[in-house]
């Protein structure tokens, strides 16, 4: 049998190229569901979005009007889109700048505290268990100018002058929302860093302490450099996540007031669904896609290079 199969392989060049063997039918059968779902719900939609970006269509009419590059030209001059892009970059930068240090500090705290601090670890994790929608609605009321907790707290400690309309003041709304994003995701990075720190061997730590290293020196000079791979992962996750951000902003502000907290994803949704501009909505979606993929590729490349150089 085996030799017959081998001979069959030899005579059919396609089979030979594919390395066809007794496992091939299983292989095809086992990959089929994954390939089917990925093609129907991911790959084809991307191609279709690209195609739609050349049309003017409300999503209902049987005919759609081909308008060439008009949508793309409009996008380049669309101040709201570029403002949303800028806001996305602000979210990226502030998320990384706030979440990484606090996440690391909490991880170190929990590691130093050991078992005694388990109750802290349990509660620190809570924000991650709530859906973004629930977190968004909760903070909408926490930020409420009259009945919310933030202004209530400021009043209680006598800092009434700092009271603000946290979500309706265009100057601060983006920062208010970023604070909530950080509140929700810091536990994620905390646990990630904690797991990495706990993975460092005891001997290394003991050796450092015997050599007279203080805790601070141990973490800054030994532990954090050792887990830089994890830090890199964290930064990349935060970067990609921030570029795609939607739920929480949508629930809290819908991008408002007057686009002050607009992100690429909320803008895409607004163009496509409430206003039924499937063509232009697809153009914004494609731009979001290209920007995310572009930044992902560049940052993967550079972070790998950095990784090998250090």
């Amino acid at each position: 049998m085996a030799s017959a199969a081998a001979r069959r392989q030899d005579i059919n060049p396609v089979r030979k190229w594919l390395r066809w063997n007794e496992y091939t039918p299983t292989l095809v059968l086992f990959l089929f569901p994954t390939v089917l779902f990925m093609v129907v719900f991911v790959i084809w939609p991307i191609i279709s979005s690209f195609q739609l970006s050349f049309y003017d269509w409300n999503g209902i009419d049987p005919t759609r009007k081909f308008i060439g590059l008009e949508n793309w030209a409009r996008l380049l001059n669309d101040n709201v889109f570029w403002r949303a892009f800028g806001n996305n970059l602000t979210v990226v930068v502030l998320s990384i700048a706030v979440q990484m240090p606090i996440g690391m500090a909490l991880a170190i705290l929990l590691e130093r505290g050991g078992r005694r601090f388990n109750i802290f670890k349990t509660i620190y994790f809570f924000p991650l268990l709530m859906s973004s929608v629930a977190v968004g609605i909760l903070f909408k009321y926490i930020y409420d100018p009259s009945f919310g907790a933030v202004n209530g707290l400021l009043k209680a400690i006598g800092l009434e002058t700092l009271k603000r309309n946290w979500l309706s003041d265009p100057g601060i709304v983006l920062y208010s929302v970023i604070a909530v994003i950080c509140w929700q995701y810091i536990p994620f990075y905390m646990i990630l860093f904690l797991a990495a720190l706990s993975g460092i061997s005891e001997e290394l730590r003991d050796a450092a302490l015997i050599d007279g290293a203080t805790d601070r020196q141990y973490y800054l000079k030994i532990a954090i450099p050792l887990i830089r791979g994890t830090v890199r992962t964290a930064v990349l996750l935060s970067l990609i996540g921030s570029l795609k951000y939607f739920d929480l902003i949508w629930v809290m502000t819908e991008g408002g007031p007057s686009n002050a907290s607009e992100l690429m994803a909320t803008y895409m949704y607004k163009k496509a669904f409430p206003s039924f501009k499937m063509g232009y909505g697809s153009t914004v979606a494609m731009a979001l896609f290209l920007i995310v993929m572009g930044i992902a590729v560049v940052s993967f490349y550079f972070s790998r290079r950095l990784e090998t150089e250090v």
């Binding site: 779902f37 990925m38 130093r112 629930a134 795609k244 979001l288």
Partner: protein, 277 residues
């Protein structure tokens, strides 16, 4: 303990308590306000004050209306079906990537992994149009396709790594005993992958339990909604009744918090599965 040691411990504890307040106060505010009578907030007292007359009326209202359980049921159903399919399909694909060699193995794997960074918004319009054209629009089943597709890449990535660690001896033995590749998969690979599958089940269930965008775009009829959308809907209904909204939020957060407290280690590990190296 030296003076310095005590001071250092004190500093650690102060920091720990400070973050405890930051992480915990929103939950305290949520649960406490849910226990308040509707107009108490408007009376001008501190928002942190304990309710003047703690009441469960808000919770009773929501639970007795029946719709809350409908949403809960919808969420459980769609999450269970989707997670089941994700686990089965990703285990099948991972078996291929981990064990069978073929010409397109590497490129296909890379293509699926690229799916990890794709923003789902780029698929929103076509998926919406497609769902409408096949008649699934506005049903719970419309969610299964996108839910499965968007969570397969990570699951495949993790399971492939997991299956590569499993020693080959048992499969070889099974093969010599005349087991077919499919038989080997079901009798040997699947049982041996159970820890990986458990982690992925938790990870995917949490992600989908909280999913918002697809549910928001693909479902209109209130009774077909999942829990995250239902919260959104209650918010409109009870716009001026903040305690009622806080009660809804508390109820919707409870299932996951209870599960977390019961199986903290497992849930934590599951939820961290998304952090790939």
């Amino acid at each position: 303990m030296t003076m310095r040691g005590i001071l250092r411990n004190l500093a650690l504890i102060i920091f720990a308590v400070a973050w405890l307040l930051i992480a915990g106060i929103p939950f305290y505010f949520m649960a406490l306000t849910g226990l308040k009578e509707r107009f108490e907030l408007f009376s001008g007292g501190s928002v942190f004050a304990f309710p003047q007359a703690p009441t469960l009326a808000n919770f009773e209202d929501i639970l007795s209306s029946g719709t809350f359980f409908q949403f809960l049921f919808n969420s459980v159903l769609v999450v269970a079906v989707s997670v089941g399919l994700i686990l089965l399909f990703s285990a099948m694909a991972s078996y291929v990537f981990a064990r069978l060699t073929f010409r397109l193995n590497r490129p296909l794997f890379m293509l699926i992994i690229a799916g990890l960074v794709i923003p789902l918004h780029v698929t929103l319009i076509p998926v919406y149009l497609f769902t409408r054209s096949i008649g699934l629009y506005d049903t719970l089943w419309a969610l299964v396709g996108p839910y499965v597709a968007f969570n397969l890449p990570l699951s495949i990535f993790i399971l492939t790594e997991f299956m590569r660690q499993i020693p080959r001896e048992m499969e070889e033995a099974a093969r010599i005993d005349g087991s077919t590749p499919i038989g080997t998969f079901f009798r040997i690979m699947l049982p041996l992958s159970r820890p990986g599958l458990a982690t992925l089940a938790i990870y995917n269930a949490v992600i989908l339990w909280n999913e918002f965008v697809f549910a928001f775009v693909l479902i209109i009829t209130p009774k077909n909604r999942t829990l995250p959308l239902a919260i959104w809907q209650y918010q409109g209904e009870y716009a001026m009744n903040i305690p009622a909204i806080m009660a809804v939020l508390t109820l919707s957060a409870l299932p996951l918090i209870v599960v977390y407290i019961l199986g903290q280690e497992r849930v934590t590990r599951g939820m961290m599965a998304g952090a790939l190296k």
